[in-house]
Symmetry: C2
Subunit: 114 residues, 2 copies
DNA sequence: TATTATACCTAGAAGATCAAGGTATTAATA
DNA sequence: TATTAATACCTTGATCTTCTAGGTATAATA
């Protein structure tokens, strides 16, 4: 495929960077937020998410810092970097190309992304 | 995830069953057809496609038969079964749910599938 | 004749995801 | 108060998908 399914799965990277572009978030929060926003379509497992976040950090797309929330519990927050923002733009482009291609093949017509 | 990425990858199954629902096709033809229809977004490798077709056959979604094309070369044609057609309906549903969920998360709005 | 395109295949590697476990803190319940 | 559930982080090993890289053989083209 032209679309790189390698490097962090189908849309995983796109979803995570999108959320982090809005605000800093910690791992557990990301799982709950994705579940909520997608009406439970996305149910990331911790065993999936944490390694991905570590990889994102190694790749320079995000950085992390420890902080205490309202609860008093230490959390590891992730913040998107400039490099991560660039990657996000690229991922969005790829997603649009990909989803339009699928729709074209299955006959579901374009439903063009404005 | 709720969407089963297991059992034959993200949209691979959907794409193959869609093409086979239109007409019987042989492997090499499927690769070229997907490449053409998607403006080269999809470039399935033979090492990817053939094992998947064999699995589809084992699962009862397709059956195969040998036939000579115009050229005189033997080709292995795949034909969708009733079970395959049922699965295709399911896959289409899942794709719509999945792509809408992604769009919702990334803020790209619904672009609802009519 | 040699090369390219067609047409099928497999084995091994790489990568993504999950299942299943672990630890520790806080909140809710019995 | 004791126990359970929820929060919050993590890793290891297994599984599944896909790709790389090979192999074989025929037909068309240069």
């Amino acid at each position: 495929m032209k679309i790189d399914k390698g490097l962090l799965g189908g849309s995983t990277l796109l979803l995570l960077l999108s959320l982090l572009a809005e605000s800093d978030r910690y791992g557990y929060e990301i799982i709950k937020e994705l579940e909520h926003r997608s009406d439970s379509t996305f149910q990331f497992k911790e065993g999936t998410l944490y390694p991905v976040l570590h990889k994102l950090e190694n790749n320079g797309y995000v950085r992390s810092y420890m902080a205490k929330g309202d609860a008093g519990k230490e959390r590891k927050y992730y913040q998107i970097t400039n490099q991560g923002k660039k990657q996000l733009v690229e991922e969005k482009k790829q997603w649009q190309i990909y989803s339009m291609a699928v729709n074209k093949v299955i006959g579901g017509d374009a439903h063009a992304f404005a």
